[in-house]
Amino acid sequence: MAATSMAQALNAALRDALSENERVLVFGEDVGQLGGVFRITDGLTAQFGEQRCFDTPLAEAGIVGYAVGLAMGGFLPVVEMQFDAFAYPAFEQIASHVAKIRNRTRGALSIPMVIRVPYAGGIGGVEHHCDSSEVYYVATPGLKVVTPATPADAYTLLRAAIDDPDPVVFMEPKKLYWSKEDTELRYDSEPLGRAAIRRSGKDATLIAYGPSVPVAMQAAKVAAEDGLDLEVVDLRSLVPFDDETVTASVRRTGRCVVVQEAQGFAGFGAEVAARVQERCFHSLSAPVIRVGGFDIPYPPPMLEHSHLPGVDRVLDAVDRLQFSDEPDGRYLTGVRA
């Protein structure tokens, strides 16, 4: 079995989708000859020609809008937004057309398309290259929002996103592009919407997605050395949301920490925490705690490690899950350790 990076897995997913379905088109800024700024589309134009994988001008609203027109005409466009913040000029098209045309036509028209968004931090990009922008999309009914955390999932989820009848915002955690695992890339046509339990445990559930999954896994490993057995749920699909897996896990463990890299205030983790307490109230032995980035614009390279929620912040949250009946001074004084 070969070690495959997430970037290679995504490339393979696009390649296989282009081979299997002639309606699939890949386009965006620099995705053709250059193969994309992260080389996700490397070699696709050479293999499939400029009719199937092509460059566009730097015009994000246009790119997404052209994709809407193509989807209305029977194609399956997969567009790249190059970076998270570069997608904001396209938000008009995404929010007002991509997400709404099925509803507007009462099901007469589908807009099957994938908008690939490299997102989140960890690569020293400052404001416009490291945004965690998922919350804008998840709050827009009509969009599905998916984010892989492993190369195998990157392959499977992208294939499933391309096959999905709904528009999918496919969020690629760019700091994981070069992460590798030994895996066979396989697509079994499983629809989107299922979370994965990455690690089973009985003492508490860590819920994470995208770039936060490796952090949660590492935290669980460290906690195990202290005798705490943590379960890690990788959401994979933010919309649709897998309440079943999440609820079952938290009811089993009775404690829950939600880990996200995005700013905390009104972030996706808030939705997860609310759903968990609504469904698991009688199983909970402690409040659901969120761990996230600070409520600031993404900081420059020398400071990003202070912003990104790492293993220590996750373990600190686990400490606050009231495993002991002793009063927690941090709550009484309001001072965080």
Binding site: L25, Q51, T56, P57, A59, A61, G62, V64, G65, Y66, A67, V68, G69, L70, A71, M72, G73, G74, F75, P89, E92, Q93, S96, H97, I101, R102, N103, R104, T105, R106, G107, A108, L109, S110, P112, P141, G142, K144, D163, D164, P165, D166, P191, P240
Partner: protein, 331 residues
């Protein structure tokens, strides 16, 4: 340019009369909508097309059934001219389940996929990329179809306008850009918003064929559109028509219309596209008073029937409120 300059010798009589009939049909529809709005039968926002009828009728006249049309929020005239049945449009105004968007779109989001009428869209310039995408799809599929899109002078200020003109010209896509220049982007005059107000000139800077057309003259519009469509369909690349027109009513039913001179409005009303053509037809003995009354009667009957059907039609059941946000079964 005037109709006498551009009217070819062989324009058949019934053809010109039919253009008149279509314009009247839109005018009467809009007038009825205004009444129904005042009676609270139609709710929400309402933007009327009165004064601009020659544009919709002239442009759609040049399109074939297989061509695509993308519209704006001032879309009633476009939809009717395109052939969306009046009862389906009126039911949509009422928000009824028999409407062309099953009552979910309303005035601003008329949609008819079967007639390749792709909306009905309240985002200024938001529809242009859709038409470019439709055209790109046609090129890739080897189909000789035209994608036409309407938008107003306000759209020229939006980024998507420029993105689309550039790409359509760069890739020589079969798009017919139809700018309904009525001189006002809601309450802001064109010369208050644009340094260069010659919009056909602006378009030509992107390397596409463009010219201004008298949008108050349906024959001029029809002929210009015909010429443009022929070129676009033949693969000569996109075309831009600046259709110089004027809306006789306010932007919407809420708009107090404080930004326009009454004299200016009256001046444009002297150029009413319906009155103009009717007078011309009469002068040439191509239309009698009886024929005109017959046309009016036919329209009134159609309208009465559309209203009656809308009145009694059901609204979409509340159980369907949350449907159609996502696909309901796998493809």
């Amino acid at each position: 340019m005037s109709s006498t300059e551009t009217q070819p010798e062989d324009t058949p009589i019934d053809h010109r009369t039919d253009l008149l009939r279509q314009m009247l049909r839109i005018r009467r529809f809009e007038e009825r909508c205004a009444e129904l709005y005042s009676a609270s039968k139609i709710r929400g926002f309402l933007h009327l097309y009165v004064g601009e009828e020659a544009v919709a009728v002239g442009v759609t006249h040049a399109l074939s059934e297989d061509d695509a049309l993308v519209s704006t929020y001032r879309d009633h005239g476009h939809a009717l001219a395109r052939g969306v049945p009046m009862d389906a449009v009126m039911a949509e105004m009422y928000g009824k389940a028999t409407g062309c968007s099953r009552g979910r779109g309303g005035s601003m989001h008329l949609f008819d996929v079967r007639r390749r009428f792709y909306g009905g869209n309240a985002i200024v310039a938001g529809g242009l990329p859709l038409s470019v995408g439709l055209a790109l799809g046609d090129v890739m599929s080897g189909r000789r179809r035209v994608s036409a899109c309407f938008f107003g002078d306000g759209a020229v200020a939006e980024g998507e306008f420029h993105e689309c003109l550039n790409l359509a010209a760069l890739w020589q896509l079969p798009v017919l850009f139809c700018c309904e220049n009525n001189l006002y982007a809601m309450g802001t005059a064109l010369n208050q918003a644009q340094a260069v107000t010659d919009l056909a000139l602006r378009a030509s800077s992107y390397g596409l064929t463009s010219w201004p057309v008298d949008g108050m003259d349906v024959i001029a519009v029809a002929e210009a559109a015909q010429r443009a469509v022929e070129g676009v369909r033949a693969g000569a690349g996109p075309c831009f028509l600046e259709l110089r027109t004027y809306r006789f009513r306010a932007h919407s039913m809420y708009d107090p219309d404080r930004y326009r001179d009454k004299e200016e409005i009256e001046r444009w009303k002297q150029r009413d596209p319906i009155d103009g053509l009717a007078a011309d037809l009469r002068a040439h003995g191509e239309l009698t008073d009886d024929e005109l009354s017959g046309i009016e009667e036919g329209i009134k009957k159609e309208l009465d029937q559309a209203v009656a059907m809308a009145e009694t039609a059901p609204v979409e059941p509340v159980e369907d409120l949350t449907r159609f946000v996502y696909a309901e079964r796998p493809r």
